[in-house]
Amino acid sequence: MNSFVAVLRKDLMLEVRGGQSTVALGALSLLVLVVLVFAFNPGGGEQGAEAAAGALWVALVFSGMLGATRAVSAENENGCIRALLMSPLDRAALYAAKLAAAFIFMTVAEAASIILMVLFFNLEFDARVMRLVPAVLLGALGFAALATLLAGISSRLRGGDLVLPLLAVPMFVPALIAGVKASASALGGAPFGELAVWLKVLVAFDVMFVAAGYLLFEHVAGEE
């Protein structure tokens, strides 16, 4: 537990010291949302809500990939990853710390995205927006779990930055479907009950991928 806290704390310290990850993620989310506004030219009402939900999740996926890549490749400077692997640090604890860091970065970026989404898609800051927060948090956790594991692979390969989106996107589809549906319902004013089935899918997704990452990360992190 000590090691997990130490690694996470170190990552957060590095971030605060000018890691610029949260800024980069926020900027990327902003740009994605801008592009999608021009792409969909949404009106108000239900169509606007659906477009807004979709845009939010597109931003989540793109910023998530960046976040996970950065959280993992922060260890490549000066070869620190090797030092971590040689230390008594449990591989699973390393995964948990990287996952937590990626999740925190993503959450900050998501908060910014939600605000921007409300502004760009002409929505209101009301209970409907609050109701999509659980879906977004669950989605961010699931994506962080998935992407951290895959980033462990892609950061080791030359030209590997193609591998991460190539694998992460199809794998994320179930959570993406559930997340967009839940968000669109929430923004459309649906009561919490309607969101329940989608949230259950998200929870199942999260449980499976956090467990899988936890068990498999050691095979990814070992040196050649």
Partner: protein, 235 residues
């Protein structure tokens, strides 16, 4: 075990089953009332789908054994299964498309089964690209095993979520009914024979590919031994 004899045997069995299946699909089975002749594609489409999904499970199982036991043979099996499965997965999408066009007038429908197969196809593609990028190394084998396992546990949840997506929100185009509701026993028989034929085809191709990969592994080991002997001779 005589590799050649096994491969030849499998090949002959496959050929026999395929000939029977082709006869049944094109001659024996009656034309379906609603969809006409095009419906016969169903007898290719479904077996390919079964093979594609089964192959994917095989990739994951091989991956688990590779990570557990560390023996290269498991990785060779997994890689062979991925390549072979990819071919059949592509066939599912192509036959699905050919089937869709005359029936619904569109080259693609987002119905739950085709969508799930598309995701599977993307996962296969990702796996193969990863292996290509990682090259011929132990690292590539390990990464492949991890991805194979994670992707395989993803598939059930993809199936569930896509089905929910398609039922709770009505499909834009008509949902395909095919697959069940085969009234005529001749249709059932044809489907079963076709399943057997395509499974045999899959196993035969898988074996061919697997044997090739095994040879490649052995060649690598020989090259290493040779290089060591050469270096020793120069000392």
């Amino acid at each position: 075990m005589n590799d050649r004899a096994v491969r030849l045997g499998l090949g002959l069995v496959t050929l026999a089953l395929m000939l029977v299946a082709l006869y049944m699909v094109f001659v024996y089975v009656p034309t379906e009332a609603d969809q006409g002749i095009v419906q016969r594609i169903f007898y290719f489409h479904v077996p390919c789908a079964w093979v594609a999904f089964a192959s994917f499970a095989l990739v994951a199982i091989a991956g688990i054994f590779y990570l557990w036991l560390g023996q290269q043979v498991w990785d060779d099996l997994g890689y062979a299964a991925a390549e072979t499965g990819m071919v059949f997965c592509t066939l599912v999408l192509v036959t699905g498309s050919i089937w869709a066009k005359p029936i619904w007038g569109a080259w693609w429908t987002w119905d739950s089964r085709l969508t799930t197969t598309l995701i599977l196809w993307l996962l296969y593609g990702g796996y193969l690209m990863l292996r290509a990028m990682a090259g011929d190394s132990e690292q590539g084998a390990r990464f492949g095993a991890v991805v194979g396992i994670v992707a395989a546990i993803d598939v059930p949840i993809v199936i569930v979520s896509v089905r929910l997506w398609r039922t709770i929100h009505p499909a834009v185009l008509v949902t395909r009914q095919g697959g069940h509701g085969l009234e005529d026993p001749r249709m059932v028989a044809t489907l079963l024979v076709s399943l057997a034929a395509f499974t045999a085809l899959f196993i035969w191709i898988l074996c061919l590919r697997f044997v090739t990969l095994r040879m490649h592994t052995r060649l690598g080991a020989l090259a290493r031994t040779l290089a060591l002997a050469e270096a020793a001779a120069h000392d």
